[in-house]
Symmetry: C2
Amino acid sequence: MQKQTDRTGFTLIRRVAPISADTHGGRAKCLQRLIRLGLPVPETVALSFEAVHRIAAGELPDMEALLAVFGARPLVSVRPSAQLADWGGPGALLNIGMNDAMHATLAESHGEEAANALYLRFVQSFAVNIARLDPDMFETGNGLGRDALQAALDAYQAETDEYFPQDPAVQLAEVLRSMARAWEGTSARLLRQARGAPADAGLGLVVQQMVLGVGPGESGAGVIQFVSSETGRPQITGRYLGQSQGRDALRASTGAQYLARDGRGGSLEVQQPALFTQLKEYGALCRQRLREEMQIEFTVENGTLHVLDAVRVPRSARAAVEIAVALARDGVISREEAVARIEPRALSELLHPQLDPAGERDVVLRGIGASPGAAVGCIVFTAAAAQACQAREQPCILVRRETTPEDIRGMQAAAGVLTERGGVTSHAAVIARGMGVPCVVGAGDMVLDAKAGTLRVPDGRIFREGDTITIDGTAGQALAGAAPMQEPGPGAAFDSLMEWADGLCDIGIRANADTPAEARVARRFRAQGIGLCRTEHMFFEPERLTVMREIVFTDDPADRAAALERLLPMQRADFVELFSIMQGQPVCIRLFDLPLHEFLPSGRSGLRALAEAMGLPLSDVVRRVETLAEVNPMLGLRGVRLGITVPEIYDMQARAIFEATIEASGAGAPVVPEIMIPLVSAQKEVALVKSRIDAVAAAVRNERGVGFDFRLGVMVETPRAALRAHDIAQHAAFLSFGTNDLTQMTYGLSRDDAGRFMNDYVAQGVFAEDPFHILDAEGVGELLRIGARRGREARPEITLAMCGEHGGNPESIAFCRAAGLDYVSCSPYRVPVARLAAAQLALKQRVS
Amino acid sequence: MQKQTDRTGFTLIRRVAPISADTHGGRAKCLQRLIRLGLPVPETVALSFEAVHRIAAGELPDMEALLAVFGARPLVSVRPSAQLADWGGPGALLNIGMNDAMHATLAESHGEEAANALYLRFVQSFAVNIARLDPDMFETGNGLGRDALQAALDAYQAETDEYFPQDPAVQLAEVLRSMARAWEGTSARLLRQARGAPADAGLGLVVQQMVLGVGPGESGAGVIQFVSSETGRPQITGRYLGQSQGRDALRASTGAQYLARDGRGGSLEVQQPALFTQLKEYGALCRQRLREEMQIEFTVENGTLHVLDAVRVPRSARAAVEIAVALARDGVISREEAVARIEPRALSELLHPQLDPAGERDVVLRGIGASPGAAVGCIVFTAAAAQACQAREQPCILVRRETTPEDIRGMQAAAGVLTERGGVTSHAAVIARGMGVPCVVGAGDMVLDAKAGTLRVPDGRIFREGDTITIDGTAGQALAGAAPMQEPGPGAAFDSLMEWADGLCDIGIRANADTPAEARVARRFRAQGIGLCRTEHMFFEPERLTVMREIVFTDDPADRAAALERLLPMQRADFVELFSIMQGQPVCIRLFDLPLHEFLPSGRSGLRALAEAMGLPLSDVVRRVETLAEVNPMLGLRGVRLGITVPEIYDMQARAIFEATIEASGAGAPVVPEIMIPLVSAQKEVALVKSRIDAVAAAVRNERGVGFDFRLGVMVETPRAALRAHDIAQHAAFLSFGTNDLTQMTYGLSRDDAGRFMNDYVAQGVFAEDPFHILDAEGVGELLRIGARRGREARPEITLAMCGEHGGNPESIAFCRAAGLDYVSCSPYRVPVARLAAAQLALKQRVS
């Protein structure tokens, strides 16, 4: 194969040998494909990453040879060509080569007005973007004529003490050098890193002969695409503007034409039906041969159509799914490829709740809807506060003047983001979309006093840290209080994609669901059961809390049993409802895990109220609360330790589960409940609980005269349980790794207390990532691998799972697959993300 | 070799083939050796463990054949023969075979009085110990004549409706059966388990022809030993009583003779010089040939000396050391054997502080000195309270009516034990001696009201839980308050033994020492340096506490640095003193580990006082305290996390260490300090601290113009640090496993909070042992092994150590040796125990 980059440092992309996105960037590669498809692309030269890197270092290609490619009219544009379009790069620069001589020539051929416009445009962009002069000096208002041109040339000379450079080679060299250096600067690097690029990602450049779009005959420029960026459904959209260049038509103020007949105003379809037909043919050709929906940038010079560029249609997550599924349905791509094309995390955008359109809206601020979906939360003004909220599992809205890279962890922790400044490509907007976090930017009417901790809105109301607001990242609004929401309906294409993904998955995906509402979401997103049903919340409802406090206040097992007797029917009803919703799918119920003192009030007034309610002297209540207080509650009397010390609670829960099993199995699909023992550290703990639960099962079977099965397993969340998994597996039908607590114990780090220094730690690179967000594969992960291996060796038929909060991350799923786990369990809204990620992993493995 | 146990189920021990303690028990084996040495031992038969087990199951040996061994006078004793004498067993039973006929015969040969005494004695012991009749019925006061005998026979008949059994075979069968069954009962099992025997330990029995000790000519019985049980030094002690049997001479009330001339009253030496000389010869022979100091039980019948039994001289720990060292010095045993013979834990008895004889003694109670040494502590009335005290590192005295097996863990946790009831062989006494815990039992004058939590003493004073008392387990006294103590001086034999042990040790032993006083103890006990010097206490002295609070209250690094500047000279002086005491031995200093909020007061009044002292509004102080409060302080901002977040503290400590190094090296042996970073969980933490400390070292070298070395290492106390030991070893000259925290994190169990259920857990066998007392080899131990292996592989020259509280246990030392650790560090008083244990392990390995 011919060497692609010749001595001169650039490559003519009409050459036969293929150009790679890895060496020349995606735009160069795409242009070569358009040329090969026979589209009328002007002469184009590609500069490789390496060439651009050399330019940044001062080593230019042979400029004469480069310009010679473009023959008699060396008038060119330069566009960036990064490996992925998303990674950014400098803006396009047009009309390089314009000088006094070219101005004279074009004034002849295309008219004085066109020549003025082209030269002025070039002088302005060169002055501002390349020579970095003050943009105000080159602001021309509506003047585009000879005077404006002269003013710009004069301004350039006044600022630089030099006449505007006339040599096209010098102009081009300056442009290339400036673009190459900007790419290697800090802010470009941070931006592309925020979009997932490696720090050393390369930039290619594309130098293309200008098609003018101005001058005699039908001349102009436009952009067309054949599907909606919002929905992904077929819809010809775009703009065309006569006597214009580049993407001028897209500027709102230009009064550009719609393309298709159904648009407003005179459409291209009506006025230039031949051109329109040709564009539609190009679109269809691209879709078929490039196997993608493309947005085509085109220019008409004197009645002739030229295609300057084509890029993937920008798209919402919803549109991405719609497009991929349609391409697969039409046989353009395979179903596997459709599955592989969707970024799993992007799905969360589809899954975000939306504001109920029928609900009342108390709108207090308007801005730009920068990341779709709606979120309710309490106001916080700092990233640290957002993380603290997350640690308390309290949703929050991060309100900032604007965001910076230091806020990223806070944004991750927040339910939504609201900023005073910024537009759709601001840091906040880009990052929030990447994370699937609803975001409103540019809400400039707000008065933010972060120091006082207040947010004033135009109607005079003042919100403080902790106040609840709602943001609508689709409409770009902030609302007072918690606005009514509706659950998302992701649509048919989503369902198809998920169905195809499920056909590829080789690891199960369950949901963590504690309540009927969560269980219903889990069903809707087709989780393969509930992997973690925490039962603690069931004891906090007011009626039950009173009973729990009686349990806490008695030392007499008989009194305790009587109180638990009253909880039994309530617990049973909880489980009946869950089992009914899940229709026979597995439901893994974790036995009571909380320390008892969590049921007691803490403040003086709460204690007094409790004393009154219990009919006890305050001193008794205080003493009892003090007795139950723990120095390190995370490491105290909870989980199985409570199950062994106060066994009546587990007895009651087991009975409620078994009675509910009989009831739900009678009414619907047979239920085989899974019972999970928390905080185990020794085999004997499991053996003791197992023998009591077996006894309860035998008693219930006997009383009811009905048989049922159940599975008893262990939540592996202490390092010791992981190390002794082979022992513990003797008594366990399943082991489910609770990576949240396991992380706390492996690091010796309480999540509640880590907020005070975790930012420092991640900022200083002490921890590469917050291990509570990204599973620590080296430490916690090793314990998980050890536990999985030992558990499996001791009992090959054992079910292995992960049910920590890490469960829904694509990285964690990759880890769990590799560790041989049977399923992961994650929050219900993460289930589709997890299913898709799992399918992609299986695909990748198939390919490799 | 001839089969030892013949068909009849018993073995004549004069047979040639050797008897083993493993099958017939220690007494049987010893008796055989005495016979082989030519000592005049009466005809003796041994019943093996298996035979006795069969007897318990109802299968008797051939009784006729057994009695036939003893020929014309089938009058025998039965004694227990467990594998180790310590394991207990039934008391000896004498004169089996006495009946009306034998009474008549003996009345002829030995006189009526002797015959009455022998028969009466047998009826009494048989009735009480074998037939289990009410002892009161057989109480005869001083009556020993014909009437008393008849009364006893009548009482037996009245109680059993049968005449006293006359057939010697029946008598012996009953005795054997009763003894065999008692051994297999619960209380005997618990007792021997408390003494370290396995639950299924066997009992052998020894049936020996009676030598009468009563009757015509010189007749009597006695016990002799040639060294003091207290000191182990040569001293002939014992008693002889004419016209007596067994150990009658030892009863205080009998007016028995001393043996040697220097005893009070007429001595055996004076009255029967030939017998005395013969006994001395036997003693010397035993010492030489049995290689042990023996206590000989002898009987004289009509002028002829018989040796009935010989046992190891009972001995205090001090005596044990003295005896072993003397035997080795005399060439009777090797030095290695002397080292091997001492139970390491017993040494702690020698090392206990004693009351200062010159100090004032406010004695409030007198009892029996059951376990030597003195202890000061606060009164607790329950085992649970004792454990709670231990968790707070507060010494306590456990005060109980009497102790039961449930109290064992509380006794372990206590500094001393005081009981109202019991004697030298009571549960409390036996267990306390085994543990080396000072103990006073039988302080019957105290009035204990555990419910009210009070202890009233004869002079009317009332002590409450928490009040400080002192007990003197040597003198058997309890004293009000903290009596003045003197440090123990273990003596020359101890020093020799330790020197021999050190010659065998292949693992280093260092001491955990925070203060100059502890460092001096470490030196005295020849620790090979300080393995853990905690620096936190240095900040709690009143003057420093104020400065620390300033540090806590400022957010300004400059203010903080200024406050630390004031601490610097104090810290430097601390280290200069430690280095001087340790005279160039390594001192491993752990950098500051506590959370800052530990320096703040908690109560309302404490907060107010602090506010006044700081000149701040109370609300500021309260807010700051609340800000610093942590949910799980064990897992919070402490250790290296504080070192990275507030680096000025470590900077100051490093500077103090280096300046002290220069100062101490100038004055004495050159110092190479070791600096240890606590609570590490990631490699980068070490790298960051290392670079700062290196910078401080460079600065100090530069300022002073003096060079010095130091070693920087890591305390491995999170599971992650153990798993990532290979990473961490890159920056660490040593790794020291802190097994206390490592246990907490591996189990997910806070030591502070475990007290509430640990008793239940150990009682139910959930945990075989409290992992905070005995290192959990399976879980925590595996992490330690993993960490040691990975650390060593990554850096072969690395020093590996353990510095948790487990360090001094013989089991832990065995574990650490096997894991390839270079040294263990333990409390200074445990150092000799550890040195001896380590020597024994090395010896064992040499043998195997």
